[in-house]
């Protein structure tokens, strides 16, 4: 790729999809498409980010997102370092600002951050003068690379996003995945219905332009994409629903319920799955499931985001 022709994102950081334009999202998806070929090669490496330092700053436990970012970084030839909160400064009481400033002092180019506090990546970006920030999930706010990999997966399977009807099931209140999907899908022209118990639907959600229903059949009916969110046991302990059994009975996606869906409808899940709760195993492993494609696409999307934000291709000759 020639440096002059390298398309750019209109931003320094990727903090969320809420303010991403259709053009920016399309650029990321198209760039990810071109990286898919790399993933399929026997030697899965391009020199795009050679010489760049990327720190994966994870203040919250995560296996697959961190792994996915790390693979993406290595395939772009970046030097990567992992920082996990439990093992490091947070225990000593260091503030996020000090952590950020120390990282910057080490001349890091890019910080991939996951944090339990909504808005922490924005705060981090304000503390950093030079480094690029990629949000890998902040509280219940956004998880933009997840939203993007979901968009890519939908586009792969359905050939388009515009005009599709997407049903998102489960705990919307605590879900950053739901929010990033809502913004991304709305921007790309899909219509959305969300479904869950009222205790797990945040207030005034309709104002974001989605329909809300509490009846699973209503959500599945006519949907092109059925997206189940992970239900967390601690929400039951918090009194938001009575039991996993009742939840599964009311909101679990089973083969019987899928019979009401469009024949070409696909099933998605951000993982990890609670089998038999939000998703029946027969559905999770069934022919309509594209869950593992999401995982593969996650690497392509993260490569694309890191590449575009870090000015990839610029120094290919170096």
């Amino acid at each position: 790729m020639n440096a002059d022709e390298t398309p750019r994102l209109n931003r320094r950081h990727l903090l969320g999809l809420e303010d991403c334009s259709r053009e920016e999202i399309r650029l990321i998806l198209d760039t990810a498409d071109s990286f898919k070929e790399v993933i399929e090669r026997p030697i899965r490496k391009v020199p795009a980010l050679r010489g760049k330092n990327i720190v994966n700053l994870f203040f919250e436990p995560s296996t697959r997102t961190r792994l996915s970012f790390e693979i993406a970084e290595k395939q772009l030839s970046a030097d990567t370092l992992n920082f996990t909160a439990s093992a490091s400064s947070v225990v000593k009481g260091e503030t996020l600002r000090d952590t950020a400033r120390n990282i910057e002092a080490m001349k890091v180019d890019c910080v991939v951050v996951r944090h339990s506090a909504s808005g922490a990546p924005l705060f981090l970006s304000q503390c950093l003068e030079r480094a690029v920030v990629v949000n890998a999930g902040d509280g219940a706010h956004e998880h933009p690379t997840q939203g993007l990999l979901d968009l890519l997966t939908i586009r792969d399977h359905m050939g388009r996003i515009e005009g599709l009807r997407v049903a998102i099931m489960g705990d919307i209140t605590h879900s950053r995945v739901a929010r990033s999907n809502i913004w991304g899908l709305r921007t790309m022209g899909a219509s959305l219905v969300v479904c869950g118990p009222p205790t797990l639907i945040p207030p005034d959600l309709e104002a974001t332009g989605v329909e809300v229903t509490h009846r699973l059949e209503e959500a599945i009916d006519g949907a092109d994409v059925i997206y189940a969110l992970r239900i967390q046991l601690e929400r039951q302990q918090g009194g938001l629903f009575p039991s996993l059994r009742e939840y599964a009975r009311l909101f679990g996606i089973t083969p019987e319920r899928m019979a009401h869906a469009k024949p070409e409808a696909i099933v998605m899940h951000p993982g990890p799955i609670n089998r038999g709760v939000e998703l029946d195993s027969a559905v999770a492993d069934g022919s309509r499931s594209v869950i593992l494609d999401q995982v593969t696409n996650g690497i392509a999307i993260r490569m694309a985001v890191l590449y575009l934000l870090n000015g990839g291709g610029e120094r290919e000759d170096a």
Partner: protein, 436 residues
């Protein structure tokens, strides 16, 4: 731009504030004229000006001295955030002549000894410092504090400040017990169990930002409880920091029934809404939280109508390190002593939400009456507490120029109009001017 202060008189001299626009809501007076001060008190106009210190107030506005009902002076215990000295300097610079020190110090002001400590420390301060004593021991909401002893030491109100008294029977006893001292009970209405870990108003913005919400019902339900308990006991309820439209309706209804109830609102709730939180700016993290436009419009109308009596700064200093963290981890609170007057003038009086008389009532007369202070009016014979300001002076909020030890203002960088030029406390005149 930083204010500098010059002491012009020591208190006994005869002073005439000449040619200003005198705004005295106790009498409804709003006209150009002179205010005379003799021997530390407001005096009748005199024929002979010779020998008097003359303050030329042409083009200036003269208010009875501003009274802040709720100031966190932080001393003893949190001197790194504010001290009585820095807090009272900030108050005077902001045009206040009296503040009420809230009891959330460490240790909390829940006994007469601490009341005396604060009053003694404030002895030479630029403004009068009154004290609100804790309603319950240690502000723990369980046992009554020694309110009688604190009353003897001069407290003007009881309050557990930002800690609501959760237990209704304890709240009932506070209302009953304070009746014999006729002290107002300043309560923050909040159902802490309903709020849980909420950090902002619950609504579309909390949904978008993924932050835990604090529903308006958490405030309104406790407003309802406290009104019922005030009615039951005959206690004097003062609701601090009304933020929700539903609370206003209940206060209006209670007033109609003749229940003794007063209320205040902060400048930030009158000006800002939860939409401003898009930036996750911790300086906008306050409790009660910034709510919606509809709530803000209701609060403005209620203040003009007198359903809400007073504007209180709720000046709550926090250090840079405490506020410079991710939103959820930051403490609640904002400072306001040095901006409240100008914010009220710029955001409420200028656009026509409040008249100048209503502004003077909310900032001076109403709090003085609720706290039963000899203040809030320019009637001859009262202590000479006067605020003079230039209503045309444009300035930009610059936290580095504050007298306060803390910088956590929600109005950083805001362009305001109206600036203190003289404050008079008991006849002692301070002149405020600017260096650049």
């Amino acid at each position: 731009m930083r204010s500098v202060c010059e002491r012009m008189t020591e208190g006994r001299e005869t002073v005439v504030i000449r040619g200003g626009r005198i705004v005295d809501p106790a009498t409804g007076r709003d006209e150009t004229g002179d205010v005379w001060i003799c021997d530390g008190r407001i005096a009748e106009p005199q024929a002979n000006q010779s020998g008097a210190t003359v303050i030329d107030a042409t083009g200036q506005i003269v208010f009875p001295g501003l009274v802040d009902m709720r100031t966190h002076l932080r001393e003893p215990g949190y001197e790194y955030q504010e001290t009585i000295r820095t807090g009272t300097q900030a108050a005077a610079a902001g045009g206040y002549t009296a503040v009420v020190c809230l009891p959330d110090t460490s240790p909390p002001i829940d006994n007469a000894e601490l009341v005396r400590f604060v009053r003694d420390e404030a002895g030479g301060a630029d403004v009068r410092v009154h004290v609100a004593g804790a309603a319950t021991r240690g502000r723990a909401g369980e046992q009554l504090a020694e309110i009688g002893e604190m009353a003897a030491a001069g407290i003007v109100a009881v309050s557990d400040d930002d800690r609501p008294i959760d237990h209704p029977a304890v709240m009932r006893r506070v209302f009953e017990y304070t009746r014999m001292f006729d002290l107002p009970v300043m309560t923050r209405c909040e159902d802490r169990r309903l709020i849980g870990e909420g950090v902002m108003h619950e609504g579309i913005m909390s949904t978008i930002l993924g932050l835990k919400g604090m529903p308006a019902a958490a405030e309104e339900s406790v407003v309802a409880r406290d009104i019922l308990l005030a009615d039951l006991t005959g206690g004097r309820l003062h609701i601090s920091g009304v933020s929700a439209a539903g609370s206003v309706e209940q206060i209006r209804e209670a007033r109609r029934k003749g229940i003794r109830i007063t209320a205040d609102v902060t400048p930030h709730h009158l000006v800002l809404t939860d939409e401003a939180l898009r930036t996750y700016d911790t300086h906008l993290k306050v409790n009660p939280p910034l709510r919606t436009r509809r709530d803000r419009e209701t609060l403005r109308a209620a203040l003009a109508e007198g359903i809400i009596d007073a504007v209180a700064s709720d000046h709550a200093p926090w250090s840079f390190d405490e506020k410079c963290v991710e939103y959820a981890a930051a403490p609640f609170g904002a400072i306001g002593l040095e901006t409240t007057l100008a914010v009220v003038l710029t955001e409420l009086v200028q656009p026509g939400h409040l008249t100048m008389l209503q502004a003077a009532r909310a900032l001076s007369l109403a709090p003085a009456r609720i706290l039963k202070l000899e203040a809030g009016t320019l009637r001859p014979g009262l202590p000479a507490d006067v605020t003079v300001f230039d209503p045309q002076k444009n300035w930009t909020v610059c936290p580095e120029a504050f007298f306060s030890r803390s910088r956590n203002t929600p109005f950083d960088g805001r362009k305001l109009v109206g600036r203190t030029t003289w404050t008079v406390v008991g006849g002692r005149v301070l002149r405020w001017s600017e260096t650049s």
